[in-house]
């Protein structure tokens, strides 16, 4: 069943997939590249040697690789969308390509993340001083995230689980009702993982011994707020899937929802940048 007419649905699906390609592989990829270039120019490895664990050549090579990878993926994705348009591919196929394209688009991001983690480990190892500092302040989640936001995150998880349990008990989806239990499991696993990330942000190992205590607290605050938003967003996403299946809507809606969800993650995580004092990375 669809509650939108097929033409409107076609437009929505194509907008979703095209905006996803733009968001992930062009807009935010360019934003990432510009930020890295800005940091390399303003805080050069020669003057801020402690900020970089890799050589300047390696940093530039990685940035160039990223840029090329993002452009190739964007081009191929647009080519695929054009192919779909010209061959008038059925909407289900186009919609199901949204997630497949998203996974491929995320590969360069995953690679950058891997390199970043590798750099963090090297930076921790290379810290030149034997002195270690710490802010002597107990940290609790409500120092960084408002209680209201936390309650919303918990409630959104609770409501989603209750809805899925209702679907299963009342057999709202007929023979497919047991799928609701899978959704509860997926939601719970994801929420548990995000909660662990939240805990780790608050109390995990300090990777950067150069950073000042104030900057560290600001970074922790940013991370905690981001993760709390993800908690709510993810539960809302699962709730949306439950609603779509309950009203027996086309699976196309789920693919569109997934694409929008991925884009929202990028907007939340990459729109704000927490500025820190880079002078701590200068040579002693």
């Amino acid at each position: 069943m669809t509650f939108l007419n097929s033409h409107l649905m076609t437009v929505i699906v194509y907008i979703a997939v095209i905006s996803q390609i733009f968001t992930i592989s062009i807009i935010f990829a360019n934003k990432w590249y510009k930020r890295k270039t800005f940091l390399l120019e303003k805080y050069s490895p020669e003057n801020y040697p402690n900020l970089y664990v890799q050589s300047s050549a390696t940093e530039h090579k990685r940035m160039k690789f990223r840029r090329v990878a993002d452009r190739i993926i964007a081009s191929l994705s647009f080519a695929l969308v054009l192919f779909f348009l010209l061959t008038q591919t059925d909407l289900e196929t186009v919609a199901s390509s949204i997630l497949a394209i998203a996974i491929i688009q995320l590969v360069p991001w995953a690679l950058s993340r891997y390199w970043s983690k590798e750099n963090d480990l090297l930076m921790a190892k290379n810290f030149p001083s034997t002195k270690r500092k710490s802010s002597f302040q107990n940290r609790i989640i409500t120092d960084f995230v408002s209680p209201a936001k936390l309650i919303i995150a918990v409630l959104s998880y609770g409501i989603t689980v209750m809805f899925a349990v209702y679907i299963f008990i009342e057999q709202v989806w007929g023979e497919q009702s047991s799928k609701a239990l899978s959704l509860i499991l997926i939601n719970t696993l994801m929420v548990s993982y995000l909660a662990w990330l939240l805990f780790n942000s608050l109390y995990g190992k300090k990777k950067d011994n150069f950073i000042t205590s104030d900057d560290r607290l600001n970074l922790i605050a940013g991370k905690c707020q981001e993760i709390t938003s993800y908690l709510t967003m993810y539960s809302a996403f699962i709730f949306g899937i439950c609603l779509i299946n309950t009203f027996d809507l086309s699976q196309v809606y789920i693919s569109v929802l997934a694409g929008l969800f991925v884009q929202l993650i990028f907007v939340f995580s990459l729109t704000k940048t927490t500025e820190i004092n880079y002078e701590v990375y200068k040579q002693d």
Binding site: A124, T130, K131, R132, K133, S134, S135, F136, Q137, N138, R139, L202, Y203, G204, K205, K206, N209, S213
Partner: protein, 125 residues
Amino acid sequence: MEIEIDINDDMPIFSQLVNQVKDSVIKGELATGFSLPSIRQLANELGVNQNTVAKAYKVLERDSIIVARGYRGTFIHDNAKENCQVNLKDKGLTIMREAIGSVQALGLTDSEIRIIFSSLMKQSK
């Protein structure tokens, strides 16, 4: 307030932590009721073993500088400032000196006193 340790210092890390907390209490930087970071948090921040921080907290609790209140956390003791002035080692030395003086007055030799002391230490374990 910031805590700083030197992992290469001759002084054990837990002693550095204990001394810094006591100094901060005396200076008034840590007031009564101040909530200390958890053992895990402080250990991860300083990059040291959790047992090291646990040992420091144990010593501070023994000296009544801090008080642990279960799940609520660890706080600066109400009488922390006064208790910082008390040196347990000096107190221990005074008591031992008096005890040894008393035992020597009975006519026991130094080796006999050492044997008694060793056996008492073993029994107390």
